[in-house]
């Protein structure tokens, strides 16, 4: 259908042009400018080896992936039941839940992070409750460590998972569930054998989106993390702002971008398959 294809491209063109102009060109320019600053290809290669070989970068890559993975699992565990509830809710309840999920979007990440610091601190709300009820005798460290980073990032990234899963769950044909029940399946079996497989592509897509976004996180780990919770974006920022070493920053950017693009390619394949396999 050449006409439809052309129409599709025409519709995508403005967005593509915008991306090219505001995203791809500046990144390309930055990487080119920075790397040519090194002079020769050999220099670039030596610097690449130094960057990839340094313990700090490897540590940060491990940290970044570890944190992103944990956050993705947390978001999924909280997000799946929440999305299910949302897909069943009607009227006022639906609007309220949706509002609660979406409204934080309109607040600056920094404000939300500082709010968490008030709640999670040694003298914060949660510790006061725990101490008051006698559950603990010493304040629990929920902030300025890995736990703080995970809580903060899980909160910020939850809506991406919920909205993705909601779309997948809404698309499930209710009659399939009724048919399963009608044929004697217990609720758990209906869920495990029918509902879960039908929403699995949503799980994959949501998880990848969350994971990819988590890779580039910066504000939350810097504010809520402990001394060792260094992520890639924080290292890159320091190379640019403090060391003014743009070639190294560019190389680190390429590494992070490489990981992200590889995952994005995976995401593309999964969602394509989902569209083909579970078309509505």
């Amino acid at each position: 259908m050449p006409l439809r294809l052309a129409a599709k491209w025409a519709l995508i063109a403005p967005a593509l042009a915008l991306l090219l102009l505001l995203f791809i060109t500046p990144i390309g320019w930055f990487i080119w400018e920075s790397l040519t600053e090194l002079g020769s290809l050999e220099e670039v290669w030596l610097e690449t080896q130094a960057v990839l070989g340094s313990r700090a970068i490897l540590g940060a890559i491990l940290n970044t992936n570890g944190i992103a993975l944990t956050v993705t699992v947390m978001v999924l565990v909280i997000g799946y039941p929440l999305s299910y509830a949302l897909s069943r809710a009607r009227g006022l309840a639906f609007s309220l839940v949706l509002l609660c999920i979406v409204i934080p979007y309109f607040t600056s990440v920094i404000v939300r992070t500082y709010a968490w610091m008030v709640i999670l601190g040694r003298n914060g709300l949660i510790n006061q409750i725990l101490l008051g009820l006698g559950f603990v005798s010493e304040p629990v460290d929920l902030l300025y460590n890995r736990t703080g980073v995970i809580i903060g990032m899980t909160y910020v990234l939850l809506p991406y998972m919920v909205l993705t899963l909601y779309a997948a769950m809404k698309a499930v044909d209710q009659r399939l569930l009724q048919a399963a029940e009608g044929m004697g399946a217990k609720p758990m079996a209906v869920f495990a054998k029918v509902f879960l497989p039908l929403t699995l592509h949503g799980v994959t897509a949501g998880s990848l989106i969350v994971f990819i976004l988590a890779l580039g996180f910066f504000i939350t780990p810097a504010l809520m993390g402990g001394p060792g919770d260094i992520m890639m974006a924080m290292l890159i920022e320091r190379e640019i702002e403090l060391s003014h070493n743009w070639p190294v920053a560019a190389l680190m950017t390429i590494v992070l971008l490489g990981i992200t693009l590889a995952l994005y390619a995976l995401y593309g394949r999964v969602s394509d398959k989902a569209e083909g396999g579970f078309a509505r």
Binding site: S54, I110, R122, I219, A222, P227, E237, L242
Partner: protein, 358 residues
């Protein structure tokens, strides 16, 4: 990382979140250009701008007709402007470190001391006057402590005390690399290095000293806002902090105290960006800002210290005791050597990453 624009402290990281917006925003807002023209100034933003508008920019406009337009920009953005040969702002008001770097790159015009008519160059401390930059205020990193934990008189009085977790137990904080530079000087003082022998910093010795206190460090702070938050939330019982940040908390009634002993004096400075459109106006604004009365006013509001030594004469006695760079701080403190940092920051950054992740 943090849009702490509502801050006074001279952090270089303040505009991270604004970066995108600032890039997209045109500097020159269309309007009838006044005959006297304008001057575009990079400032730390937020409350700082309000204070400067009141005590400097508005009186300056009244006097000369020149409009002052404060804008946000990170150091790397300034570097990018210079490299792209597209200098859009005239005056840079920032920590002196970035100005040393920009100066070494040849991006700054000389300060035209000869043209000054409101201020006298010789009134400005010799430490504060340089070819391409002149300091407009000083601030200090001080040892702050929680008074409920350590009553006055029994509080930590030196960085060696700060390192003594047996005598003064409790979680602490120090500056992170991301704040611009970690507190290596403080680590050396704690290790017994005398104040006048700190530079050139023995980096390995400093990190070794930091390793000893690290188990007690709850978090290394990267912005002034975070350091203030941690002290006022009692997340830490003591820490290094910029005096202005701390004073704001104390004035609000927080049970915090500090000791001027071994305070580290740092400098905020002004430079004219070479090749910018309003060179002469920028020089005039510097001249205007350096006046003793003007400096006294904004320094008091900022909780920092003036660089024009005559300005101290315009400050009430009870305020002098809280002023960095004044009689209380300078005798028992030391100046941070910004040139050392500009030459060694990259090396320290590498070592910091290894140390913090190791």
């Amino acid at each position: 990382m943090r849009n702490d624009r509502l801050t006074l402290s001279p952090s270089r990281r303040r505009f991270l979140m604004l970066g995108g917006a600032a890039l997209a925003a045109p500097y020159v807002i269309a309007g009838p250009a006044r005959a006297a023209g304008q001057v575009i100034v990079r400032t730390p933003g937020g409350a700082y701008d309000d204070i400067m508008r009141r005590h400097v920019y508005e009186p300056f406009t009244k006097e000369t007709g020149i409009t002052v337009m404060p804008v946000a920009a990170t150091v790397s953005k300034l570097l990018a402007m210079f490299r792209a040969n597209n200098v859009e702002l005239d005056l840079i008001d920032t920590g002196d470190g970035p100005l040393v770097t920009l100066g070494r790159m040849g991006a700054l015009a000389p300060i035209d001391y000869g043209s000054w008519k409101w201020s006298k160059p010789e009134d400005v401390g010799a430490d504060y006057r340089h070819d391409t930059r002149v300091a407009n205020f000083v601030y200090s990193t001080v040892l702050a402590y929680n008074k409920t934990r350590f009553p006055e008189g029994q509080h930590p009085r030196s960085w060696a005390d700060f390192w003594d977790a047996g005598k003064f137990p409790g979680p602490r904080m120090l500056a992170d690399m991301a704040s611009g530079q970690p507190d290596l000087e403080i680590a050396l003082l704690a290790d017994g290095v005398p104040r006048d022998k700190i530079y050139p910093i023995d980096i390995d010795r400093a990190f070794k000293s930091l390793s000893r206190i690290r188990p007690q460090i709850r978090k290394f702070w990267d912005t002034g806002a975070l350091s203030a938050q941690m002290l006022s939330d009692q997340e830490v019982v003591m820490g290094s902090i910029w005096n202005g940040r701390l004073q704001t908390l104390i004035d609000k009634g927080a049970p915090l105290g500090f000791d001027w002993n071994e305070n580290m004096i740092q400098v905020q400075a002004l430079s004219v960006f070479k090749g910018s459109p309003n060179q002469a106006n920028a020089q005039k604004l510097i001249d205007f800002m350096m006046q003793p009365e003007v400096q006294a006013k904004y320094s008091m509001d900022l909780q920092y210290g003036p660089t024009n030594q005559k300005a101290f004469g315009h400050v009430p006695a009870e305020h002098l005791t809280r002023m960095p760079g004044g009689p209380n701080s300078k005798q028992i403190g030391f100046m941070r050597d910004v040139s050392w940092w500009e030459s060694n920051r990259e090396r320290v950054n590498r070592q910091w990453s290894r140390w913090i992740l190791g």
